[in-house]
């Protein structure tokens, strides 16, 4: 008589009547002496009998062909190994990478330089409202969208060659320039303007794009 307990597959074979007579006799002798195997038979048989008797209700979709089981490509790939084997492969791969990384000499590369200047500012941008595009007369008012935390704005005016003509500071989200200043904007010329925002400490916090306007 087999001393070792029977596998779940063998137990299923017995329950489902797939065991040959000789093996069945041995198995029966065994479970007369083995409460563990007998308990396992009872548990598995209960499920098996429930499936046999209630199967038409449980697997209605499968029986009517509404649900079919075909292996997907991913499933086929996963099926190449068991979950335990996949776990072993992954662990080996991680170990391999760790060995490679540990063995690689530390190469000192040049530290990347990050800098902040007037053209490169992290944070918000300022959206300019007017003047933009073609203007009938030289503009007297420059407007942009207000930022929440900014204390002061500086408005820069450039000519078509990008030469700074003038700059003004204000705490408002607009700037009105005097007619005297306005005289330097002559018809038939193109100009650019830009706004920069500064915090209380004088730190540059936001910069707008340069916008162009043309006076007819």
């Amino acid at each position: 008589m087999k001393k070792k307990c029977y596998s779940s597959q063998e137990i299923d074979d017995y329950i489902m009547g797939r065991m040959d007579k000789e093996k069945r006799d041995h198995f029966e002798k065994h479970f007369f002496c083995c409460p563990r195997c007998f308990g396992e038979i009872q548990k598995r048989e209960e499920i098996f009998l429930a499936i046999k008797s209630e199967g038409q209700k449980i697997f209605r979709e499968e029986i009517q062909g509404k649900r079919s089981y075909q292996p997907s490509p991913l499933r086929k790939l996963l099926a190449l190994l068991t979950p335990k084997e996949w776990a072993a492969v992954c662990s080996s791969a991680v170990l391999f990478l760790m060995i490679i990384l540990a063995g690689t000499p530390h190469i000192k590369r040049e530290t990347p330089q990050f800098f902040l200047n007037e053209d490169t500012v992290r944070g918000e941008t300022i959206n300019l409202i007017s003047p933009i595009g073609e203007q009938k007369t030289p503009p007297l008012r420059f407007e942009w969208e207000k930022l929440d935390k900014t204390v002061e704005y500086t408005v820069y005016l450039f000519d078509s060659k990008n030469t700074l003509l003038s700059s003004w500071s204000t705490k408002n989200d607009y700037l009105e320039i005097s007619e005297k200043t306005n005289i330097m904007l002559s018809p038939g010329n193109e100009y650019h303007w830009q706004v920069k925002a500064f915090s209380t400490r004088g730190t540059l916090t936001a910069v707008s794009m340069k916008k162009q306007f043309f006076i007819r």
Binding site: M16, E46, Y69
Partner: protein
Amino acid sequence: MNFKDSKSIDLNKVYKEFRPIVSYKVRKTLGTYNPDWEDIVNEILTNVFEKLKAGDFRGDSAIGTFIYTITHRRIIDYIRQKSKVLRYIPEVNPFPDPVDNVEQKERAEKIAGLIKKLKPKYREILYLYYYKGLTRKEVAEQLGIPPRRVSELVNYSHKLLKKMLIK
């Protein structure tokens, strides 16, 4: 249960442990619908006790093997008697029908409800393996997975159902 000989045997323990096993074996062999199964189980157990009291069990083998032998012989005798009367043995239902009483029917319905709640990968295994009666190799071929994986999924399904039944 280990006993060296007839004198050290506790008959109550023997009855408690072996009645379900003997009943199972008798019903499995003769069929659940056989009206004589309970009488045969009682006869077997009575015979076992008589032999134990008479000191016929000398402890050469396990007590389970001793009881198995008595059970096996009694079942063969019964089949022979019936064969003489009927000239043939009525076809034995290989699986006892769980619908034979309300309690079992309710239990089967409960299990069915739990199986419906399982993930498709477990349902499909139970469907192909138990309901359709395919072998592990056939299930493996149909699903494109190794036979070993079929066993793992079947066993895990049992484990899940066991947990759900306890809840």
